[in-house]
């Protein structure tokens, strides 16, 4: 096969980091298909990236230590000291209760994202005969169908690094929009779901919110007019790693 421009090391890393144009990405993938050694190298780099997340992502949910915000705050001006104190309170509240600062926003997000995501998780992960509408083995069909219905480019995140395989997914009615649900299962049969829907009225933030209800943990966030919710019966720490991988894979798709 001929390539218009040769594939460089930079191309390979940019491919890995999701930084190539669609056209170039296809070229690199075609090239990799013919170069198994390079593909193996890229897979190792992927494993390194996910390993770094595994090593360090727990810092994202850890409570902020007091001494970080208090120790030297006396030296600062009063106004700054007030901000520093507020930071301490903000973080504690944030992770202790896991909500938005505005109760109006919180209510909207609960109604449109967290509640429906949790319920959909409950309904379908407990369904023995038909947990998914389209199976994970038809991933391409599943993703293109859901993308078309939600009018955006979706993807089913690769969670194999966390031991989860894609079981499949389905289209769901949410409160006032359509939603997509992807379901994953690990070797022990634990299931997690990713629920995605459009939420136009809430600003993006780089924060994961946490909610626990009826034994189901949910980590959720808002980004570029979409709400994402990862739910499961697994530990918060495990869920965070899944959420972080998901966030990363969506975030770096452009």
């Amino acid at each position: 096969m001929m390539y218009e421009t040769p594939i460089t090391t930079s191309d390979l890393h940019a491919w890995l980091d999701g930084r190539l144009s669609e056209q170039r990405q296809e070229m690199v993938e075609a090239w990799l298909a013919e170069h198994p050694e390079a593909l193996r190298e890229m897979r190792d780099y992927q494993a390194i990236g996910l390993g770094l997340h595994t090593l360090y992502d727990h810092k994202l949910v850890e409570p902020i230590p007091d001494r970080l915000v208090i120790r030297r705050s006396r030296q600062l001006s009063q106004r700054v000291a007030a901000v520093v104190a507020w930071i301490g309170v903000g973080i504690v509240l944030h992770w202790a209760f896991g909500g938005f600062n505005s109760s109006e926003t919180q209510q909207l997000v609960d109604e449109q994202l967290v509640g429906p995501a949790r319920f959909a998780h409950y309904v379908y992960t407990t369904d023995k005969s038909r947990p998914v509408e389209i199976k994970g083995s038809d991933e391409r069909q599943l993703v293109s169908y859901l993308s078309e219905r939600l009018r955006t480019q979706l993807k089913a995140p690769d969670l194999t690094a966390r031991g989860y395989e894609l079981t499949g997914g389905r289209l769901l009615p949410s409160t006032n929009r359509m939603a997509a649900q992807f379901m994953y299962t690990d070797k022990s049969g634990n299931r997690v779901t990713l629920y995605i829907r459009r939420i136009a009225s809430v600003d993006s933030e780089a924060v994961f919110h946490f909610s626990k209800h009826d034994g189901i943990n949910t980590l959720y966030w808002i980004e570029d007019q979409f709400g994402y919710a990862v739910s499961g019966g697994v530990e918060k720490h495990d869920l965070l790693q899944i959420a972080e991988i998901t966030h990363l894979q969506f975030h770096t798709k452009k």
């Binding site: 390194i48 770094l52 902020i64 970080l68 903000g90 924060v207 990363l248």
Partner: protein, 168 residues
């Protein structure tokens, strides 16, 4: 006030980054974050509304880190060696051992390569963003990123024995 409160959202990310840079030394990591937050609060006026706050905060963090490295580089900087470092990347049954290998390998990297790898991998930043934060050309970011990944892979797969790096 509202601008300043936005910094809060990034504290967990800054802590993760600092913790990774300081190889899990909590105290050193949080000292760096604290310096970063204080400097950010003092200089909030110089942050341009509408520009990327995360990039601005990580730029402050980078500058503080570089200064610290310079201060420390008077003495030799030895990398811990342990036997786990020499086992293969693939087919390892014990995941914890592999992660220890990875952390060990990460810490053989020169500081700039380590920063680039962490910003790209953990923060998902574009090469352009990393280049701006570190004030180096984008091409340099890409070549150093490639070198960083190669080195970690070689060490973990046991292809090379990690050498003890000395900072001159």
């Amino acid at each position: 006030m509202r601008n300043e409160s936005k910094i809060i959202e990034f504290i967990p990310r800054l802590r993760r980054y600092a913790y990774a840079l300081y190889r899990g030394n909590e105290t050193a990591a949080d000292d760096l974050v604290q310096d970063c937050i204080e400097r950010a609060l003092r200089n909030m006026a110089s942050w341009q509304q509408g520009t990327d706050l995360r990039a601005w905060l990580f730029t402050i963090m980078h500058n503080l880190y570089v200064n610290q490295i310079k201060r420390m580089s008077n003495g030799p900087n030895f990398v811990d060696l342990n036997d786990d470092l020499f086992a293969g990347l693939q087919g390892r049954a014990d995941n914890h051992m592999l992660l220890r290998d990875l952390e060990g390998a990460l810490n053989t990297l020169p500081p700039d390569q380590k920063e680039i790898l962490l910003l790209v991998t953990l923060e998902g930043m574009s090469y352009r963003e990393v280049a701006d934060i570190m004030d180096i050309p984008e091409g340099t970011v890409m070549s150093r990123l490639s070198r960083a990944r190669q080195q970690i892979r070689k060490i973990i797969s046991g292809e090379v024995v990690p050498h003890i790096r000395r900072v001159k």
